[in-house]
Amino acid sequence: MNGPHDLGGQHGLGPIELEADEPLFHAPWERRSFALTLAMGARGDWNIDMSRHAREDQHPVQYLSSSYYQIWLAGLERLMLERGLVTEKELNGGPRSPLPENTKPAVPAERLSAMLTKGDSARAESENAPRFKVGERVVAKNLNPRGHTRLPRYVRGREGVVETTHGVFVFPDSNAKGEGQNPQHLYGVRFEAQELWGADAAASDSVVLDLFEGYLLSAGESA
């Protein structure tokens, strides 16, 4: 979605605020929100792409004026509400509602600990050969999906060169909608700074993005 989270290239968002000896959390509620989000995410009632979409799919004023863990909390509440795991009334201190049938039990600490260590690779299998090779010139498609995507606006329509092939990964755009993993080849694509930002950018600089095959065309190929 063309949402407030897609920040690359925006102006006017102020100086970078550096904090000496920054604590990991700035308030006890941030610490608890972090843990609740991970513990709920580990249940598998939603996937990471749904989770990211729930955070970014907010009114831009709300998104940009919220702190990081406020955004996480809003995303968590939305995901739980959508699945009936909690109700608005419960979140407002009202009486408890029953859980949907077949709700899974909590993930115990030991199992969650093992999950943390094992990781969450989004690598997947595909029988398709990679369509692009290293060194090939490609263009990012001009896509504007209403749903989740990992193709930022600032590279759409721009030409770059494939720098690396990463293998096959779960495609976030479909996974976020519960429409399946649709595994695709993933490429590191390098865009010259001047291609993205114009002649005033430094000629020597560039930006590399990891882009899915479905986001790309061969340079010269029409959309």
Binding site: L13, A39, P108, D210
Partner: protein, 211 residues
Amino acid sequence: MSDSTNHDDHHHHEPSDMELRVRALESLLIEKGLVDPAALDMLIDTYEHRVGPQNGAKVVAKAWSDPEFLAWLRKDATAAVASLGFTGRQGADMVTLENGPSQHNIVVCTLCSCYPWPVLGLPPVWYKSAPYRSRVVMDPRGVLAEFGVDLPADTEIKVWDSTAEIRYLVIPQRPEGTEGWSEEGLAGLVTRNSMIGTGLALDPGSLEASS
């Protein structure tokens, strides 16, 4: 933006409101059997005490000291980093980027806050915030200046936008005057920001001066 009073109204929720809201939510989820309270404590302990930039510093110090390890990082960073015991969530597929006199790499996630947790822990607020995410892809030299880093004009800057599930760790340039240093000593020169690319490894002279 000129009306800072209104703008601030959006920013400040009463901390006590947030505390109460999150406490109530935690009680609700525990009562409904959706989360294990021990799991919450384990998660916080893991990221407050066990995982952090000290892990990444060990990777960097070994990369500086051990050519075979560096070659392994180039070939399969995930496996090489895992060999030091650093694995897991938000770092299941790792790539390392080497900074040097001719090329400087910087990592960002313009769309959210992707960051290599097993080697750097949880990201600082500035990394997750709009100013850094919006500007570093368009004006990396201006952003570096805010971090006090001034690179020669002919150094090629590459900004890596973590748009998928690959997680990037920058190997900063090894400071001069560290020949013969132990890996432990070297790790003490490796800052978190130097592993994001918004800083350089510490100059050993500055350490001696301050100690």
